[in-house]
């Protein structure tokens, strides 16, 4: 295990050695050291049966930032997202090669507990999927299961506030969640996810089923969640990636073998990906000249 611990942990380890009086200096130094990686995917290839969905993805996800995964349909971005918290395990024929390190621990390691993985790495899906329960119970259900019963009302309120939904639902917490609008339901699903205080939020096209106003609300929400959570979002909408993400990873279908396979083309600061991408394929895609 110790050999797989990435360098940033060693940097952190050194931190206490810096004298207390020079915090100013450390703040200046911070941009120079390597940013803390929550996920570090190394040569990740994913297969569904005989079909290869992704080839050789090397991608670091930085702590506290929003990372957007963009690319055309079928390029494997959702597959990649779902393999970060092992949601693909139940897909028949799923096989992964390479390593996905989460804070230095192999997500697919033999001693790893899948339930624990998802407890720390939450997920919000494309279509809002609230439980057929009350608004309150939707949010309170997972904390109750996890034994977080102390201050449950406060936890539910905080989660709903965190998801920018509190003011709209505070007078009808006992009403069914299915009576909410699509955008409200999706924010409820985000509230449900953050109620158990995960480390990471994975968002799989969270706004693609919503109208522009609800989409705007979700995007504002993501800005407010940034820093508290590390966020990875898959989106079809390039403007959305440009608006919300700190870093953007562009996936595409590349023909290496007999069939096209999802490949990570380029990852960089969002402004760079949309402003001056290094790869011509990225440039074609973000400028709408995809072909």
């Amino acid at each position: 295990m110790s050999s797989s611990v990435p360098s940033r942990v060693r940097i952190q380890d050194k931190a206490p050695a810096i004298p207390v009086g020079v915090t100013e200096t450390t703040v200046e130094i911070q941009p120079v050291v390597a940013p803390e990686l929550v996920f570090d995917s190394r040569e990740v290839s994913i297969f569904y049966g005989a079909k290869q969905a992704l080839a050789g993805v090397n991608l670091g996800i930085r702590h506290g930032q929003i990372t957007a995964l963009i690319g055309p349909s079928g390029c494997g971005k959702t597959t990649f997202l779902r393999s970060l918290n092992r949601m693909n395990d139940s897909v028949s024929g799923f096989r992964i090669e390479g390593q996905i390190l989460y804070h230095g621990h192999d997500v697919y390691g033999s001693s790893v507990d899948r339930v624990e993985v998802r407890r720390r790495i939450g997920m919000v899906f494309q279509k809002p999927n609230p439980f057929p329960k009350s608004i309150y119970d939707n949010v309170a259900w997972a904390p109750r299961n996890l034994g977080l019963r102390r201050g449950l009302d406060e936890r539910v309120e905080n989660a709903l506030r965190g998801a920018a939904l509190w003011d709209e639902v505070k007078d009808r917490l006992k009403d069914s969640a299915l009576g909410l609008s699509g955008g409200q339901q999706q924010r409820l699903c985000i509230a449900r996810a953050i109620a158990i205080e995960p480390d990471v939020l994975l968002l799989d096209e969270p706004a693609s089923a919503l109208d522009p106003i609800a989409t705007g609300a979700i995007e504002d929400l993501m800005h407010s969640l940034k820093g508290r959570f590390t966020i990875v979002i898959v989106t079809h909408n390039m403007q959305q990636a440009a608006r919300v993400a700190d870093r953007t990873a562009f996936f595409s279908l590349e023909t290496a073998g007999p069939k096209p396979v999802g490949t990570l083309i380029e990852v960089d600061e969002t402004t760079r990906i949309f402003g001056e991408p290094r790869d011509p394929r990225t440039r074609d895609y973000v400028s709408g000249r995809f072909g």
Binding site: G104, L146, G147, E197
Partner: protein, 293 residues
């Protein structure tokens, strides 16, 4: 982050908080479910094993095809005739009911009809036997295979209708719309688009209904064969011998040879029912694949 139930994100991905306890509960539940599945399987295996081990001894070509008392050919033939006649009565009605439910009745009517079919399916078969006895046997003043077939047809009807209706509902709505948009009348759509797509499923639910009816005993005791007909016959307008009532009769006699005979007939009956059921399910799986792909 002071709560001990909140995990340190950088800790190894082993259970934190109350996960160990939750997993113990989960394992107990899984164990109980598995045990229940094993019990269900064991019951089936035990029944089959009993029938096979006790019945296999008497099975021979003569036992199956010869007349009584060397064989049970007449009972086998009678069962086949009664079941086929019952199906000939139940299938057209059942399919039409299914079509009415899916294509014509509207949501409310469909709900009511489905409820009625389910109630019909839940009726004890002895009551259907009494019905056949009162309305057919008493009227004709004799027991007939036909009376038995009518009782079995009532047993088959809800099975065929519900099974067919479920497959008909699998036929995509846009096929109906495509046909409607071409200005084709609904009955024409039903005949040339919907029924062909659902045919496999309709045949399957019919076979399953036959398998179920073939083993019904109570109605047949009242409707046919209480007076011991033992000869080969395909005429449904006289009392027909059949396997279920014969099993009942010879097991009641307290005669060791009768027991052996009863187990032998049980094996024949179980074999027929298992083969038809399995065949029907294979057919259904195939037609569902065709519909969904």
């Amino acid at each position: 982050m002071s709560d001990p139930l909140l995990p340190d994100p950088t800790a190894p991905l082993t259970p934190s908080g109350n996960l160990r306890r939750r997993q113990a509960v989960s394992r107990i539940t899984e164990g109980a479910a598995t045990a229940a599945a094993v019990v269900a399987l064991a019951a089936l295996v035990l029944v089959l094993w009993t029938v096979v081990s006790r019945g296999a001894g008497v099975i021979s070509f003569d036992f199956i095809f010869k007349g009584y008392p060397e064989g049970v050919g007449p009972m086998l033939l009678g069962t086949i005739v009664i079941a086929l006649l019952a199906t000939a009565i139940a299938m057209p009605i059942g399919v039409l009911v299914a079509l009415y439910v899916t294509e014509y009745s509207g949501a409310k009517g469909a709900r009511t009809l489905k409820l009625i079919l389910d109630l019909l399916n839940g009726l004890p078969s002895i009551i259907l036997g009494l019905f056949a006895f009162v309305f057919i046997v008493e009227a004709q003043e004799k027991q007939t295979g036909f009376a038995g077939s009518v009782a079995l047809a009532i047993i088959e009807l809800p099975l065929i209708a519900r099974g067919s209706q479920e497959v008909l509902q699998l036929v995509p709505i846009n096929l109906r719309e495509a046909s409607d948009a071409l200005g084709v009348a609904r009955w024409r759509t039903v005949l040339s688009v919907i029924l062909p797509s659902a045919l496999g499923g309709i045949v399957t639910s019919t076979i399953l209904a036959v398998a179920r009816a073939a083993g019904e005993t109570a109605p047949l005791i009242l409707a046919t064969s209480a007076f011991d007909p033992k000869k080969f016959s395909v005429n449904p307008f006289e009392a027909l011998p059949n396997i279920p009532t014969w099993i009942y009769k010879v097991s009641e006699e307290g005669n060791p040879n009768g027991y052996a005979e009863a187990w032998g007939m049980s094996l024949v009956l179980v074999f027929i029912i298992l083969v038809t059921s399995l065949g029907a399910r294979a057919l259904l799986a195939r037609s569902k694949r065709k519909l969904s792909s």
